[in-house]
C-alpha cells in the first residue's frame, strides 16, 4: 500500500531536491519525493498540515548500549534527611524519563518518621518501588511491589530481629527490617536477567525514537569482555522490536590487553554474528587520548594551568597503527577518539597511513587542531570530522586549562566545511543526557556562526555553520560515516522511509527557539515508532 504525506515543508537532506512538499511511502521505502501535485493520485493520503519533516536523525557517536547495563541497575540515591511525605514526589522527579519497571532507590533514614507504602503509592500506583535505607538494613516497598512479592497478611517473619512491619490491622505497612526479611524481596530485582536488560533496551529505544533518531553509532559496544548485549539486540531485531539501526564497534585498547590478531579474530566473529539490515558490527574503535577536563587530552603545547602536563596517551601510536592496518585490510571501518592536537596528529598518521584502505575513516571529538592538520585532513578528503556541537558552549574552566588562544579555536567545524571535510554530529552519550537533543546541537552550531558571545558559545563565529549544514551533519553525513547512505540519511526515493515530523520549522524559527523543537512523530522503515501523546507538553523529553 502507498501512503502520500503532503502539504508539508520537507527538508530532505538530499542536495538534488533540498526542500519538497510531499513524499510517498510504500513497503517501508520512499518511492517519490516532490510537490503536492506529484502525489495527488495516491489513494491514501496524510495531510501534514504545513508541518515540517526532516530525515530520521543519525547519532554518529553515542553510547546507547552502555545504557542497557546502566538502566538495568539504576539505583537512585536520596538524601537521608528526606521525610516520608517528601519521598514519593522526590523519587518521581528522579526517575529516568522513558524508563519503566522497578524503581530502586536508597538513602532514607527510617528514624526520620513513620515510612510506609502510602508514601509511595500516590506517585507510583502501578510500578513496583523499593527504597533501601541509607545503611542497607531496612527496605520500604510500595503496594505494587508488595503485591508482586506476595507480601500480605500471611507473610512470615524470618525471626524476631528481621520482620515485615505491620499496622494494627496486622497488614504489612511496606517497611521491611533487616537483611533476612529483605532478602525475601530480592526476587523483585531479579538477577542480571535478559528481562531486565530487555526492559532497559525497550525504554532506551523509545527514548531515542522520541528524540527523532532512527540510526546510531555505538562507540563502545565490546572490548573483548562486554559483548553480552548482542544476543538481546539480535532478538529485538528478529522480533521486529528494534526501532532504529545500530552500528556497533569493537574498542581496541592496545597490545597490553589483547594481541592484535586475537582482537581481529574476535572482531570478525562479532561482525559475522551481528549482521542484518538493522545491525552491524563492522567498526574498529580506538581511543588515542583522554579529555581536556582531566588534563589527559594530548596537547602539543602544555596545559595553561599545568605547565608540566601535555596530557597522556591512552592507546599507543604503534598499537593503533598495527590494529588499524589489520582492520582496514579486513574491511573494517575505523573510528578514533582524538581530543588534543597531538592526538589528532597521531590519528591522522594512522588513518592516512596503515588505516587508509578502511571503507570509512573517522576522527571523533576533534577539539584542538594545528593548522597543518586542518590542511592534512582536507587533503585526505574523505576522513569524517565527528563531534558534539553542544561542546562549543563557553565555560571558563576550559579557558583556564587551554589558555585563551587555544580555547578560542576549538572544534573548527566551520573551517572543515569550507574545506570540504564531512562534519558529522553526535551525542557522545546515552539518551537522557542534554547532548542527545539534536536540535540543541543544531542551535549551538548555528548560534556560534551568528553571534557566539550572545549565545554563550566559544568563538570564533567563522567556526559555526548554517542550520542546513548542521542538519546534514545529523543526517546524510552521519549515514555516510556509517556506510548506510544508500539506506538512510535523506528523504530520497529508494531509501528507507525514516523521517521525523516536527512542531516547528528548525530552519526558519527564531534561533533561540531552535533547541525547543519538539518531535511529534518518528517513523522508521515506514512504521510510526514514536508519537507525542496529545496533551503531552513534552515535559521529560531531552532538553539542552
Amino acid at each position: 500500500m502507498e501512503t502520500a504525506f503532503y502539504n508539508g515543508i520537507v527538508y530532505t537532506a538530499d542536495a538534488a531536491v533540498p526542500v519538497a512538499q510531499a513524499f510517498v511511502v510504500r513497503d517501508g521505502t520512499f518511492v517519490a519525493v516532490g510537490t503536492n501535485s506529484d502525489v495527488a493520485a495516491c489513494a491514501t493520503k496524510v495531510d501534514l498540515g504545513g508541518r515540517c519533516v526532516i530525515p530520521g536523525l543519525v547519532d554518529s557517536h553515542c553510547h546507547i548500549l552502555s545504557g542497557i547495563q546502566q538502566a538495568a541497575m539504576n539505583m537512585i540515591f536520596l538524601e537521608n534527611e528526606i521525610l516520608p511525605e517528601e519521598l514519593g514526589e522526590t523519587l518521581s522527579e528522579e526517575v529516568a524519563p522513558g524508563s519503566d519497571g522497578l524503581v530502586a532507590a536508597m538513602g532514607i533514614d527510617i528514624t526520620k518518621g513513620t515510612f510506609s507504602a502510602r508514601d509511595l503509592d500516590g506517585h507510583f500506583p502501578d510500578r513496583p518501588v523499593m527504597v533501601f535505607s541509607f545503611d542497607g538494613h531496612a527496605l520500604l516497598l510500595n503496594t505494587c511491589a508488595m503485591q508482586a512479592l506476595g507480601v500480605d497478611r500471611e507473610v512470615e517473619d524470618p525471626d524476631e530481629n528481621s520482620y515485615f512491619v505491620r499496622g494494627q490491622d496486622g497488614l504489612p505497612t511496606g517497611l521491611v527490617i533487616e537483611i533476612p526479611a529483605m532478602m525475601r524481596c530480592r526476587s523483585l530485582m531479579g538477577d542480571e536477567t535478559e528481562g531486565d536488560h530487555g526492559e532497559a533496551l525497550e525504554g532506551l529505544l523509545q527514548a531515542y525514537a522520541s528524540c527523532g533518531y532512527t540510526t546510531a553509532f555505538d562507540a563502545m559496544s565490546a572490548d573483548g569482555e562486554a559483548a553480552e548485549v548482542f544476543p538481546l539486540l539480535k532478538e529485538f531485531d528478529e522480533s521486529g522490536k528494534l526501532t532504529m539501526r545500530i552500528s556497533g564497534s569493537f574498542c581496541y585498547h592496545g597490545e597490553e590487553y589483547m594481541e592484535p590478531e586475537e582482537a581481529l579474530d574476535y572482531m570478525r566473529e562479532l561482525r559475522d554474528s551481528v549482521r542484518s539490515d538493522n545491525l552491524r558490527m563492522d567498526t574498529l574503535k580506538m581511543i588515542a587520548d583522554g579529555t581536556v577536563e582531566e588534563h589527559s587530552a594530548l596537547l602539543s603545547e602544555p596545559y595553561a594551568d599545568q605547565p608540566q602536563c601535555r596530557g597522556s596517551e591512552l592507546t599507543g601510536a604503534e598499537d593503533m597503527r598495527t590494529m588499524a592496518q589489520l582492520a582496514a585490510e579486513d574491511g573494517f571501518r575505523i573510528h578514533i577518539h582524538a581530543i588534543g592536537d597531538r592526538a589528532v596528529t597521531e590519528v591522522l598518521e594512522v588513518l592516512g597511513g596503515p588505516g587508509r584502505t578502511a571503507p570509512t575513516r573517522t576522527i571523533a571529538h576533534n577539539q584542538i587542531y594545528r593548522a597543518e592538520d586542518i590542511e592534512r585532513i582536507a587533503r585526505e578528503g574523505d576522513i569524517f570530522f565527528q563531534t558534539t556541537p553542544h561542546w562549543v558552549q563557553f565555560d571558563e574552566a576550559t579557558v583556564a586549562f587551554l589558555g585563551e588562544k587555544r580555547a578560542g579555536r576549538q572544534f573548527p567545524f566551520g573551517t572543515m566545511r569550507r574545506n570540504g571535510v564531512a562534519v558529522t554530529f553526535g551525542s557522545d552519550a546515552c539518551v537522557g543526557e542534554p547532548s542527545c537533543n539534536a536540535f540543541a546541537g543544531m542551535f549551538y552550531a548555528a548560534a556560534r556562526a551568528e553571534d557566539p558571545e550572545r549565545f554563550g558559545c566559544f568563538p570564533p563565529a567563522e567556526e559555526g555553520i548554517s542550520r542546513e549544514e548542521a542538519l546534514a551533519a545529523y543526517t546524510i553525513a552521519g549515514a555516510r560515516q556509517l556506510g548506510w547512505e544508500k539506506e538512510t540519511g535523506s528523504i530520497t526515493a529508494g531509501k528507507s522511509a525514516d523521517f521525523v515530523i516536527l512542531d516547528r520549522d528548525p530552519m526558519t524559527c527564531p534561533i533561540a527557539e531552535l533547541p525547543d523543537t519538539t518531535v511529534l512523530e518518528t517513523w522508521f522503515r515506514g512504521e510510526q515508532v514514536f508519537r507525542l501523546d496529545a496533551g503531552d507538553d513534552g515535559e521529560g523529553k531531552t532538553r539542552r
Binding site: 545503611d135 563502545m220 582531566e294
Partner: protein
C-alpha cells in the same frame, strides 16, 4: 576512614579502612576522581572496611560505571557483613567481587 593508595603503571589499588559513610564517601570520591584518568585496572580492597552506607555505594557505582568505559574494576576481600549489603541491594550483580 583511611585510604591506602598503590599505583603501578595503569593499575591502581585503593585499600579502605574504617567506615565508608556520608562523611567519608566524598574523600573516596575525590581520591578516585583525582587518580583514575589513566587507570585501566582499579582494585578496591575492602578487607578493613567495617561499614558501608548508601553514600559509599553511590561512589562504588559511579566508579564502576566510569571503569566500564575505560577498563575494569574489582572489589576484593569483602567481609560477610558488607557482602550482605551488596547482595540485598543488588550490587553483587554489577560489581566484580573477588
Amino acid at each position: 576512614m583511611t585510604i591506602t593508595r598503590k599505583m603501578e603503571g595503569d593499575k591502581l589499588e585503593l585499600a579502605l579502612e574504617g567506615r565508608l559513610d556520608t562523611t567519608t564517601a566524598p574523600e573516596l570520591e575525590k581520591e578516585i576522581a583525582d587518580s583514575i584518568a589513566d587507570v585501566k585496572d582499579l582494585t578496591l580492597d575492602l578487607e578493613k572496611l567495617v561499614y558501608i552506607s548508601s553514600a559509599g555505594l553511590r561512589v562504588l557505582l559511579s566508579a564502576q560505571k566510569r571503569m566500564n568505559q575505560q577498563g575494569s574494576m574489582v572489589i576484593c576481600n569483602v567481609s560477610e557483613e558488607i557482602m550482605e549489603i551488596f547482595e540485598v541491594t543488588g550490587f553483587s550483580d554489577i560489581l566484580t567481587i573477588r
